[in-house]
Amino acid sequence: MNEGIAGKIAKQFINSKITPLLMVASLLVGIIATFMTPREEEPQIVVPMVDIFIPYPGAAPSEIEERVAKPFERTLTEIQGVDYVYSTSLPDFALVTVRYDVGANTEESMVKLWATLMKNMDKMPAGVQMPLMKKVSIDDVPVLNLTFWGKDTDPYQLRKAALDVADELKKIPDIGDVEIKGGLKRQVRVLLDKEKLLRYNVSAPQIMRQIQSANSQITSGDFTSMNREVIVRTGKFLESAGEVGSVVVGVYGGSPVYVRDVATVVDGAEEVDNYNFLTWGAAAPEGMPEGEYPAVTLTVAKRQGTDASVLAGKVVAKVDQLEGSVIPENITVTQTRNYGETATEKVFTLLEHLSIAVVAVTIVVGFFLGWRGALVNFMSVPITFALTLLVYFLFDYSLNRVTLFALIFVTGIVVDDSIIIAENIHRHFAMKRQPKLQAAITAVSEVGNPTILATFTVIAAVLPMIFVSGLMGPYMSPMPIGASLAMIFSLLVALIATPWLSYRLLKVEDGGHEEYDITKTSYYRVFNSILSPLIDSGLKRWMAFGVVGLMLVGAIALVPLKAVQMKMLPFDNKNEFQVIIDMPEGTALEETGRVAKEISAYLRTVPEVESCQYYVGTNAPINFNGLVRHYYLRRGDNMADVQVNLIEKGHRSLQSHDIAKKVRAGVQEVGGKYGANAKIVEIPPGPPVLSTLVAEIYGPTEKDRIEVARQVKKIFTETPGVVDVDWLVEDDQEVYELLVDQVKAASRGVSVEQIAQTLRMSVAGMDVGVLHGQPDREQVAIHLRLPKADRTSLKDLSNIFVQSQGMGSMTTRLRAGEMIPLSELVTIEKTIQDKSIYRKDLHDVVYVTADVAGITESPVYAMLEMDKKIAQLKLPGGLSISPLYTSLPDTESKPAMKWDGEWQITFEVFRDLGTAFAVVLVIIYLLIVGWFQSFKTPLIMMIAIPLSLVGIIPGHWIHGAFFTATSMIGMIALAGIMVRNSVLLIDFIQIRRNEGEGLKQAIIESAAVRTRPIILTSGAVVIGSVVMLFDPIFQGLAISMIWGGVLSTALTLVVVPLVYYMAEKKSN
């Protein structure tokens, strides 16, 4: 018999001394690689996203859009590799977000962007300031949050303690950004007294100038005399509030006027601009006090490519050390996020699953081949994985949920090669036709080559997944790479290690010496009774085909019947979620705080909630989702975030998604009372998007867009299952515009700029310098402002005085320095604040966003339902819109709408996976044509592929699960496995026929002989997948592999031989 490559390799290694050494060495490098590969929760996704802030003080959104945003956008799209350009034009500045193709080099992209920006700066209108570019990357997401809180403390002390700790933490290697959320800074507040300013004839700009000039110190040079140099220094920095108070700001009645004469100087906490409180929930650990406590959060990010769990461990140890010294006794430090821990936990859960899968598969093999056969397989799997992990390490992958998942996914597949080889060796040993060594080599030669082919068909099936584009790409790519590598290693192990192990471990049973006879085995009897009648009778055969066909049609029919719904990815079971609260624009900070407080008071009664922390006026520490949604820009009096931490998932029965669904009604009831829009935001399992459901409204004018958006929003709200409806259109906020009377101002010697500056200093306040020589970690600003109580109404504003310049005035009688009340110079006009203008890829757009929960969990179905209603909308001018799905509208001259959000990613993923599947089919066909040298045989083998649907779709229905992207991956992988089964089957038929057997006999024998390895390998796939059934995300894949595997194996064993019989009968 021809040995082939497989036989030759086996012959080389079966008795070689190097084989065991290779095995041990592979195991060792694998273990070392596992330790050295960094562990983290999310895969390293490079989303080159850059935010560009372009300030244009004073300009209205419409002007900013026209003069700044539009020209910038146009030039940005010239850059190669730019995927999307979004812009938001707000009062005073534009925010342009550029997203490059996923995976593009970040530094390169930044340089290109910078070059383009600089090239066009000369075209910007006067007044536009230097743009600020900020790169946004996954490593900006904090891996560890430490909340500082305490009973008898306040935000000022908390921030100080957090700053001291942050300073210490920065010394830890590999640490990334350390930030502090909330708390109040130390500030020297110069609170102006309006009456005294008037009395002493001093104006706010004057105080600013005097403080600035007093707060200076300069090295003036040196004197040389008697061979010595003496340095001369002039001036002295301000070093205390007292010194600030003693700055002379003017002269009144011959005596100096000090700052303290016209203002109160306070050294202490700044004016309250945020509220941050921690409250323990119903599931709090033992001994945690009830009630709310002021809190400050310290967030720790990691450097790229480092291990999150190691860093978190170091930080926590350091903080423990600092307790009692840097951290005062009355402040408690609690971890409110530890992605290092969750990453480790996730990694270990997956490794546990991996081990269970390996053990389960071994037990199954044991049933068929005895414990010795099981041991052979049991030893070959770790070697395969060890080598794969080594390659992960070498490729700079981290151990995260996606890379490890790739390993679990292939557990069932990688044992197959070993099983097939070991099984055949076992069979040949049992036949006892040859001496032991010879029998082993023959056995390897016999199945070796089809095994090589089969391995490559499976690789061909999974590898095209690497071409999934967009944000989902990085989530997917470790899978084809990991699985393909594992397959190749498993093939090598099967050809090198398995024969070596089998030769030593498998026993040739003594005893019965009778000649091996296939017809006496039970497999033969079973297949003879099933296949014989079907082969003999054409009618029965067609009936069998009819039954299979009906099953297939029935299975597929479940999809349009909505018995099985499609969804991109189901929600993972996380330990946290957030509530994002948006009050109407113009809501005061305390009012927003009240809503946040009430919502968190409700949330803490939920039995699964461990703690709640609300942030008013500032954003909560972001997660990956917040990064893409720009939550780090959420700063304002009308915004609040509530970070909800749930009890560890092992200790609760409800999944985080169910809890989120449960609390939504309660949260929104509280929010509704105050007109707040409160959204529950969960961490998406896959790539984050603006919102699950996004309707982009395009149209000729802003009025049209908002009108259409209003109607679409109404449809959203009315559709059951669609929740958290919102739109990116601000509510009307009242604005008092102070119009300066030019003539009056000029005649009284006051400039418009002076009025604006005085008002800005009085109302918004202004930092006029910093206090020097302070031990504080943060700089201490000197802040000039009116006290809050003096700036509450228009009446207060009109009491502000400006100083006449005198000289420049047209009436010379006027003396410079006279105080003129503002009310004389301005008229007040009430208007509405201009709304922000959003643009996407050079189109003006209004976004309507929503989430789905409850009766509809999949956005696609909600979209289809709303489509009908949207199409019926009557728009002014008799126009109607039909929502677009994949492309932007051709024209902006009439209103249009496009779906975006999760749909966009779903569409891209299923499109790419579908294309991948088509490519897979072609490659598999080519491989088999090359092997069998026939155009027809490969088609027969590929019949098994659609048969897997008979199992997959009803399987999802039985489990009540969604058909997800992972289900699709399972289906693709299964195609490879099923074709491999057919290959093994038909290969043996051909071997037997070449040996002179009749067609019918060869078919039945082949089915009988190959059933055991086929059932064994399919069984391994099924058993290996069972552990994944309990993981919310990978459930779809498990269902595909289990149900598809079982049914398609059973059907393959009957249908493929029959079709082959029909095809060959004619050619005979």
Binding site: L27, G30, I31, T34, F35, T153, D154, P155, Y156, Q157, L184, G268, A269, E270, E271, V272, Y275, A282, A283, A284, P285, E290, G291, E292, P294, S309, V310, G313, A317, T344, F348, L351, E352, S355, I356, V358, V359, F378, P382, A386, A588, L589, E590, E591, G593, R594, K597, A601, T605, P607, I647, G650, H651, R652, K788, A789, T792, S793, L794, K795
Partner: protein, 138 residues
């Protein structure tokens, strides 16, 4: 230290290639809150709106109701069920014995007339004690 431990566990996993699928013991979640105590309160005062000249009015509460915690200003509010809550406010000028509230309270809400540090969040006031003394806010 914890990392080393996990590494040892991991090594054990790989070499032994076996891991039990241990069930997690789940301790019963701790009981939510201690029973709220009932405290007697001097008097509850409603937040009043005062008509101002020019642009709109303002809310006032008695100055004695307001307390300071660091830079934050608060009052104690009695909710519908008599539960006492801390409410952070933004305070303006004093007007007589009252203080202007710029934000954080709405008209008609009941605040504890004189701040008592002994009262804490979660305490309740019974209806009989919840006497609204309109006169006090003059």
């Amino acid at each position: 230290m914890s990392l080393k431990k996990t590494n040892i566990v991991f090594a054990a996993l790989l070499t032994l290639l076996f891991a039990g699928c241990g069930g997690h013991e789940s301790p019963a979640p701790q009981a939510a809150s201690s029973p709220a105590e009932t405290v007697s309160v001097e008097g509850l005062v409603a937040v009043r709106a005062v008509e101002g000249e020019g642009n709109g009015g303002y809310f006032v509460v008695p100055a004695s109701a307001v307390f300071k915690e660091g830079a934050m200003t608060g009052v104690l509010v009695s909710g519908a069920s008599g539960r006492i809550d801390v409410r952070w406010i933004s305070a303006g000028h004093a007007v007589g014995s009252n203080v202007v509230v710029l934000a954080g309270l709405s008209e008609g809400e009941l605040v504890v007339g004189s701040y008592d540090p002994a009262l804490r969040e979660g305490s309740t006031v019974t209806k009989s004690q919840a006497v609204t003394e309109e006169d006090q806010s003059k």
